[in-house]
């Protein structure tokens, strides 16, 4: 369906409900997929519901193409029924009393199309999505993965101006998730309008989205391409999701690349302000600039004795706080200045005889330490100044 091609979404969303305040400025170009990543309670679903017209703005505006859907100050509000939004609900919300075919034909019927035409079009969508064999089934007879695909087909078949997906893979088991992620990867680019995908799975965002917003406590704390966000997380939440150590600090020596960390300790970073794989790398990092420092757990080496001089520039001590077996490696949490997560092989754990409470030395090459100016806005600062410790 290309009836609405070329329309972008611009939303300046402020929603207040009790103590909760959601504030997000979102623009999505036609054909673009925006992922909104955030923990539970961050306001992701509220954002989608507001865009869909199931809730009103407290302040701000929502426009699609030339049409204003919501303008709190002007008193404009277009209800959901008139917005033509394709919303894929987290729990699918298929109509249990209708066949799969009639579910997909529902929007056309509701907008006045005859049964025959609506069904023919719906059958076309089912064929396109490889669902023709379940066309006569009731939703109750479908597997979770099929239900999700039918929900997507129903949303796409409604000829929406924008497509909204609320945690499309959350209710699926790991294997089905893989399969449906592939399906979405195939079908989302075919949609000509703006799409927004809400998720708390960074992998989903990486695979499906062109752009990524990180929403925490009702605010967008970071935006960028998924890979840039993953390499340079701005908050503890994202750093944990992608498995990185993240330290806020202050650049104290531009020449040596020394960053004093807010939570104690310091790290030397080679090439401060030049982030690999980033085109906007010319950053004005001068002494005194607030920095974020990331360090991959695999880039840190654990020693039971002080490492030799002349080896990596970053060396510090700590105490083993815990060990966790990941699929092929062991993640060691070390309390120190700074605290860090370190990934080592099971063999190394045995060789080093690592146990909780043991004092260790850590080292990391300056070339592995990535520092970039940054500090997320305002209120969330308090949450990410804490050091990374998954056991705390």
């Amino acid at each position: 369906m290309t009836a609405h091609a070329g329309e972008g979404l611009r939303a300046d969303v402020v929603v207040e409900r009790g103590d909760f305040r959601l504030e997000a400025r979102v623009t999505v170009d036609p054909g673009q997929v925006l992922a909104v990543l955030g923990p539970n309670g961050a306001g992701k679903t509220t954002l989608l519901r507001t865009l869909a017209g199931l809730g009103a703005l407290t302040d701000g505006t929502i426009t699609v193409g030339q049409d204003t859907w919501d303008d709190a100050r002007a008193g404009t509000f277009v209800p959901a029924v008139d917005r033509a939004v394709g919303l894929v609900f987290q729990d699918y919300r298929l109509f249990p009393h209708l066949s799969v075919l009639d579910n997909v034909a529902f929007a056309a019927r509701a907008r006045g199309a005859g049964r025959g035409r609506a069904r023919r079009e719906a059958a076309g969508w089912l064929a396109r999505m490889d669902l023709d064999q379940v066309a006569r089934c009731r939703p109750g007879e479908l597997s979770g993965g099929q239900g999700q695909r039918v929900a997507l087909a129903r949303a796409l078949a409604s000829d929406p101006r924008i497509l909204l997906l609320d945690e499309p893979l959350a209710a699926l088991d790991a294997r089905t998730r893989l399969e449906i992620r592939g399906e979405l990867r195939r079908h989302l680019p075919a949609f000509a309008g703006p799409s927004i995908l809400v998720t708390h799975d960074p992998l989903e965002a990486m695979v499906l989205a062109d752009r990524l917003f990180v929403l925490e406590s009702g605010r967008i704390v970071q935006e960028g391409t998924p890979s840039a966000v993953a390499r340079r997380p701005a908050t503890d939440y994202v750093a944990r999701l992608v498995g990185l150590n993240l330290y806020p600090g202050t650049l104290t020596n531009r020449t040596t690349g020394r960053v004093d960390l807010d939570a104690g300790g310091s790290l030397y970073a080679a090439g401060v302000g030049q982030v690999p794989d980033d085109d906007t790398a010319t950053l004005d990092a001068v002494t005194g600039t607030s920095m974020l420092v990331v360090l991959a757990p695999s880039a840190i080496v654990v020693h039971t004795h002080q490492p030799d001089a002349g080896s990596p520039r970053n060396k510090w001590t700590g105490v083993v706080a815990g060990l966790e077996m990941l699929t092929d490696r062991v993640r060691v949490a070390v309390d120190g200045r700074p605290s860090a997560l370190v990934d080592i092989t099971p063999a190394a754990v045995a060789d080093l005889c690592l146990v909780p409470g043991q004092a260790v030395w850590l080292s990391a090459k300056a070339t592995e330490v990535i520092a970039y100016p940054g500090r997320p806005a305002g209120s969330v600062g308090a949450t990410w100044t804490a050091t990374v410790n998954p056991w705390s």
Binding site: A52, G53, L54, P79, A80, V81, D82, R83, A84, V85, G86, L87, F89, D91, R93, F95, P96, H97, L98, F106, A107, R109, A110, R111, R154, S158
Partner: protein
């Protein structure tokens, strides 16, 4: 399922006896041979026709008026909704004969509405078949409202929301989504309403009287027969019993299952 402990088993057996013995008595006393003659003489067919027609019309009226009211009680937000719900269910607990008397004072020829019906439109309801319908509707509609409202409350709002995002207007959503979803409860409520209307006695006799061929329903006919000819009363009762068992059979799957919504 284990064996029932005796403090439960004994009262249960007594309850079964209590519920079943009167029916057994009815069947034992039934004048099987004279049945056709008795039914003809006691104008049973007229009474049955009036009973079935009025109960059915009362059920249709209850559906047309009661389902929207149930929707309003379950979905609309306004001040005094709880009060309205309480008022609506008053006829549920009110002795039907009181309801009939109340109807007489409201819709009777001297009633505060009835006098205008009479003066302006020439409509009199008391002691007419239409009056029977009114009396039955008053008593039976709350059963439908309560059943349907409960179903609407437990039906998922999420599906109606989904329908709205696909461009379905509220009334279309009501027809295409809500009604099918509450279908079983709607059926159960209708049957319950119909059975209640069929068995109505107090309100009918107070408001519509007991005129054979006009307002005499089966229940009234049984009552009248009991005073003159008990054999005829038994015969009429048997007919009502058959109708009730028919209703029971219809309800068996939908309503009598444990956990089904009332």
């Amino acid at each position: 399922m284990g064996r029932a402990p005796w403090p439960l088993a004994v009262p249960a057996v007594v309850a079964v006896a209590f519920l079943m013995l009167p029916l057994a008595g009815l069947l034992l006393r039934a004048p099987w041979r004279d049945l056709p003659r008795l039914l003809v003489e006691s104008q049973a067919l007229d009474a049955l026709r009036i009973s079935l027609t009025t109960a059915s019309v009362a059920t249709v009226i209850s559906l047309v008026l009661g389902v929207p009211l149930a929707w309003v009680l379950a979905r609309a937000h306004f001040r005094g909704r709880s009060l309205l719900r309480a008022l609506v269910t008053v006829p549920l607990v009110l002795p039907p004969v009181v309801g009939g008397v109340a109807l007489l004072f409201a819709l009777g020829r001297r009633g505060f509405i009835g006098q205008y019906l009479d003066q302006w439109f020439g409509i009199t309801l008391p002691f007419t078949t239409a009056g029977v319908v009114v009396a039955e509707t008053l008593v039976a509609m709350p059963f439908l409202i309560v059943t349907v409202e409960g179903a609407l409350r437990s039906a998922s709002l999420g599906l109606e929301e989904a329908a709205a995002t696909f461009g379905s207007r509220p009334f279309t959503t009501f027809r295409r989504v809500t009604v099918p979803l509450i279908g079983p409860s709607l059926l159960a409520g209708s049957v319950l309403c119909w059975a209640r209307a069929l068995g109505e006695f107090g309100a009918t006799i107070a408001f519509a009287g007991n005129l054979p061929g006009v307002t005499q329903t089966m229940s009234l006919a049984v009552y009248q027969a009991l005073e003159n000819d008990s054999a005829a009363a038994v015969a009429l009762s048997l007919v009502l019993l058959v109708v009730s068992i028919g209703v029971l059979a219809l309800l068996r799957d939908r309503w009598l299952h444990p956990g089904a919504t009332l």
